[in-house]
Symmetry: C2
Subunit: 489 residues, 2 copies
C-alpha cells in the first residue's frame, strides 16, 4: 500500500472527537511533527536499496526499519523515503526524551562531552577528576531508595552479570565467615581450573519467561524464547514460575493471589533444595520481553521476605522498566517495600548501564575482583545526567502516569468496542507501560506502519507499548485512532 | 618524594646523548608537552581530596591516578596537582592516537556524532541510514584479511562472548547437517531448562595465562589470575599450555621449538578427548595481561592447522594487540597465515568493539539468534573511523614499527648495563609492544611516577609497555632516561 496522510494538528483531532485530549495541553516540543506522514510502503524504494547495501556487511534479517535519525524528532521516527511514524517502540524502550532532543543536543555538544568521547578512561584505574561529581549530579541523583552506590557498566546484559558476580562474592564471603578470611590454596588452585570450590557450583534463580540478557551468565537466567538460547551452553541454574495472572484483575482477586502464593512457594523450594544453591534471585518488575507479565506488589513483597529469610540477595532488573515510563522513576517504587532490593540494574533509557547497591558488603573484600578496563563510559554518564535533568524540567514521570491513565482508558474503550481483539489489557496505573494480547499480534504490528505507528511485540502474543516519556495525550489520540483503523480493517 | 623537573626539549636531551633520537624527527603535535612535569608526590593533595570524595560512591581501591583529561595532551597524562606524566600505559592500552587528539576532537564535535549520541539506535532493528557507509569507511577498511563482515559490540568481553556464541551455533549446525535442519522439540524444550542437547555441553578451548574478559563465558576462558576468577561459577572448559619461551630467542631456538610442539600436542589432545568438546580455540597473539607471553609464527600456523584438522574454529583475540601497536595493524599479520583466522575480536584502541568474520556460515541460520538491543554504538564507530583516518594520515603503524625497534635497542642496552634488572626482554620486531620481567616489578611501576612515567604491569613479574601509536623516538628517549634513573637508584 502507498497512502499519504497529510500532517494534521492534534487539536483538530481533539475537536473532532470529544473523548480525546484536552486541546489546552501544551506540547513539549512545538516543532515536533503534528502527526505521522506515510509517503510509500515501508520499506520504500530508498530504504530497500540501503538495506541491500547494508546486508553485504551486516546481518539485516532482524531489520525492522531503516531510519534517518537526523530527520527524526520527538516521538516521531523518520525513514529514508520521507515516511514519519509515531514511535511507541522507541528503540526497544531505549529512547527516553525524544529523538533529537534539544537539551540532550546541548549536552552532546559540550566540551565535557567531547573530552569524554576522545579521552575515554579506564575508570577503575584512572578516573577523571570530576567522576564523583558526574555520578552525584547524575546517576546517583536518581538512585533507588536504599542503594547509594553504583557500579557502572555498558549495557543491561553486563550490568546484570556484574550484579551476579557481586552476589556470588558476597555469598562466599558469608560462607567463609567474613571479609578478612583469606582464600584457601585449594580455592585458588581450583578456580584456575574452573572447578569448585574456587569456582563454586552456585546459581542465580530467575523466573520462567524472564529476560535478563544474552551473554553466557545472563542468558542462563533468560527464559523468554528458545531462539535466544538454542545451541548456547548454559549454567545449570534454577527457574521458578512467574505468576500467570488473569485479567481483569478485579474479577480474579483470589485466584491471582493463589497463583502468586504458588509461585512464591516454588521460589522457596528452589532456594532451599536446588543442587546448585542460589546466591540471589533476579526479577523484572514487569517481564518486559517475555510477554509483559505483571505481578502484584504483594508478590514482590513476598519475594523480598523469602529472599531475606533464606539469606539470598534480591536483584531487581529495571533495565527496561526503569527511568520513568511506569509512572514512577523506578517501577519497583510501586511495591512500597520497607526493605529495599539489594541491587537494582539499569540500562536502556538511561543510555548507559550499571547496578545500584547499598550494602557495603557488596563491595568485594579486595580490589580488582570487580573490575574491567572501561567500567562504564563517562560520555554516556554525562548523557544520562542530561536525561535526568530533562525528566525533571518537564516533570515527565508525572506525565507518564497521567498519559498512561488516559491511554489505558482509551484502550479499554477499544477493547469493549472490538471484543476478542484486545485481550488481557494490562499495565493499569503503570504509566505508559501497557500491553495486551492479540490473536493476530504480528499482523497488527505490521499493519501499524501503514497507519503511521511503529510498534513492537513482547513474548508470543502481546503488543507492547513503550512510548517515550514525552508521549502526551495528543500522541495517545493519534495512536488510538490508528489502532481503531487497524481493528476495523 | 616531591621533586620538580622543568619541561625540557626533546632535542636538548638528544644532543646530550649521542645514541638518542635524531633531532630532525618531526613531532606529530607541536603543542605536546616536551617532557614530564612533577610538582608533587602522586597522589598530591588535590588528588587525595578528590579520591576521598569519589570513594564515597565508587570503589577506588584499584585507583592508580586521578586524571584531568582536559589538561592531558598527546602522550602525556595530567593529574589534579599539576603533574604531567609520559603515559606508556595509555588506559590499559586503550588510547590510540593521544589524549585530546585534534582530529578526534573534530569528529567528536561533528553533527553526525551529536546525532549518534542522542539518537542511539537498536542497530539490529532500526539501523541508521548511513550505517553501511560508517562500517565501510571505518571498521571494515581495516578488516583483517579473510574477514569481510563484522558484528559490532560494546567491549572486549562481550565481543569475545558473541564470537563464542557464533562458534557454538556454527558447530551445532554442522553436527545437525546443515542450516536448513530444524531444531528438534527436545532441543527446544531442553534449551529452556539450560540442559543438553538444547544447551549443549560444549566448550571453548583457551590457554593458560590467557585473558579474554571477565563476564561469565569470557571469564571461563580467562586464566591469568585467581583474583579474577575466585568465587565466580565457571564452565567446565579446557585449557592448554601456552609456550613458555626462553630468552633471548636466538639462543634457545630448538628448546623453544620443542616447547611449542608440546603445547600444540596438548591442544590436539584436548580437542579430541575433552569431555565437553570444543567448538573453537581462542588465542591472543601476545598474552597481554597474563605476562606478555609470546609465541612464534610457527606456533600459530600450527594452531591454524590443528584447528582445521579437527574442524573447530580459530578465534584470534586482538582486543589488546590490535590497531597498530605491534608494527602491523593486526598482530596476527606477523604470522603470514595462508588460511585466515575464522574470527578476530577487537576493542580497546578501536574505542569500540566487535568481531570480524569471513565465513557466511558464521551468520546464524535464523535472525535474532545473534542479537541484542544496541549491538554496538554508532558514536563509537564514528570515532573508530576518525582513529583509522588519523593512523593513516600520520602513518602510525610504520611509526610503531620504527619507534619499537629504537625502544627495544635502548632497552637492550639498559639490560646489559644493569644485569638482572631487565630479564627476558621481549617484543623484538613487535612495534612498541615490549615487555620484560623484573625482580622488583611493583617497585619499578611505583617509582615510575616519581620520574614522570606512567607505566603498567602484566602477569606476576612483567613490566608492560603500551605506549600510544604516536609514541616517537623523542618519547622513547625520555622513557629510557627515566628507566635508567630508576635502575640506578
Amino acid at each position: 500500500m502507498a497512502t499519504q496522510s497529510p500532517p494534521r494538528s492534534a487539536s483538530a483531532a481533539a475537536a473532532a472527537k470529544p473523548h480525546l485530549a484536552d486541546s489546552v495541553e501544551q506540547p513539549y516540543f512545538p516543532d515536533e511533527p503534528t502527526g505521522p506522514i506515510i509517503r510509500t510502503e515501508i520499506p520504500g524504494p530508498k530504504s530497500k536499496e540501503a538495506i541491500a547495501e547494508l546486508d553485504k556487511v551486516f546481518d539485516t534479517r532482524s531489520l525492522n526499519m531503516m531510519a534517518n535519525y537526523q530527520n527524526s524528532f520527538g516521538n516521531y521516527i523518520a525513514d529514508l523515503d520521507g515516511n514519519v511514524l509515531l514511535d511507541v517502540y522507541a528503540q526497544i524502550a531505549s529512547i527516553p526524551v525524544g529523538y533529537s532532543n534539544p537539551s540532550l543536543l546541548l549536552a552532546a555538544t559540550s566540551p565535557d562531552m567531547a573530552s569524554a568521547i576522545i579521552n575515554r578512561p579506564a575508570l577503575g584505574n584512572f578516573p577523571q577528576h570530576d567522576w564523583a561529581q558526574i555520578l552525584e549530579t547524575g546517576i546517583l541523583r536518581v538512585a533507588p531508595k536504599g542503594c547509594d552506590q553504583v557500579f557502572t557498566a555498558q549495557a543491561g546484559s553486563d550490568a546484570n552479570e556484574l550484579a551476579y558476580k557481586a552476589a556470588f562474592m558476597w555469598k562466599r564471603r558469608q560462607q567463609r565467615g567474613g571479609a578478612d578470611i583469606e582464600f584457601t590454596a585449594e580455592e585458588i588452585e581450583s578456580s584456575m581450573n574452573n572447578q569448585s570450590p574456587g569456582s563454586p557450583n552456585m546459581s542465580i534463580l530467575s523466573f520462567k519467561t524472564a529476560f535478563h540478557g544474552r551473554l553466557f551468565g545472563s542468558l542462563s537466567t533468560t527464559r523468554s524464547k528458545p531462539i535466544h538460547k538454542l545451541d548456547i551452553p548454559a549454567f545449570d541454574w534454577p527457574q521458578a514460575s512467574f505468576p500467570a495472572l488473569k485479567y481483569p484483575l478485579e474479577q480474579h482477586v483470589e485466584e491471582n493471589a493463589r497463583e502468586e502464593a504458588r509461585c512464591l512457594a516454588e521460589v522457596e523450594k528452589l532456594l532451599t533444595t536446588y543442587h546448585n544453591p542460589p546466591a540471589a534471585v533476579i526479577v523484572e518488575p514487569i517481564q518486559s520481553e517475555g510477554g509483559d507479565n505483571h505481578a502484584s506488589p504483594a508478590f514482590f513483597k513476598g519475594l523480598r521476605e523469602v529472599t531475606r529469610k533464606h539469606d539470598v540477595l534480591l536483584i531487581v532488573d529495571e533495565v527496561q522498566t526503569g527511568v520513568g515510563a511506569t509512572g514512577k522513576f523506578w517501577a519497583h517504587e510501586h511495591w512500597n517495600l520497607q526493605d529495599p532490593p539489594d541491587m537494582v540494574t539499569f540500562s536502556k533509557k538511561a543510555q548507559t548501564a550499571g547496578y545500584y547497591f547499598g550494602n557495603p558488603e557488596l563491595r568485594p573484600n579486595k580490589p580488582y575482583r570487580q573490575f574491567n578496563t572501561w567500567m562504564g563510559d563517562p560520555a554516556r554518564a554525562l548523557l544520562f545526567r542530561a536525561i535526568i535533568n530533562e525528566i525533571a524540567r518537564l516533570n515527565l514521570v508525572h506525565n507518564t502516569a497521567e498519559t498512561g491513565d488516559y491511554l489505558y482508558a482509551g484502550l479499554e474503550s477499544l477493547a469493549q468496542k472490538y471484543p476478542g481483539e484486545i485481550e488481557n489489557l494490562r499495565g493499569k496505573g503503570q504509566g505508559t507501560f501497557i500491553a495486551w494480547d492479540s490473536p493476530r499480534r504480528d499482523e497488527i504490528l505490521k499493519k501499524g506502519k501503514g497507519v503511521g505507528i511503529n510498534i513492537g511485540g513482547s513474548g508470543a502474543s502481546a503488543v507492547r507499548l513503550r512510548p517515550m516519556l514525552i508521549f502526551q495525550k495528543r500522541h495517545a489520540d493519534i495512536f488510538l485512532e490508528a489502532m481503531e483503523k487497524i481493528l476495523k480493517s
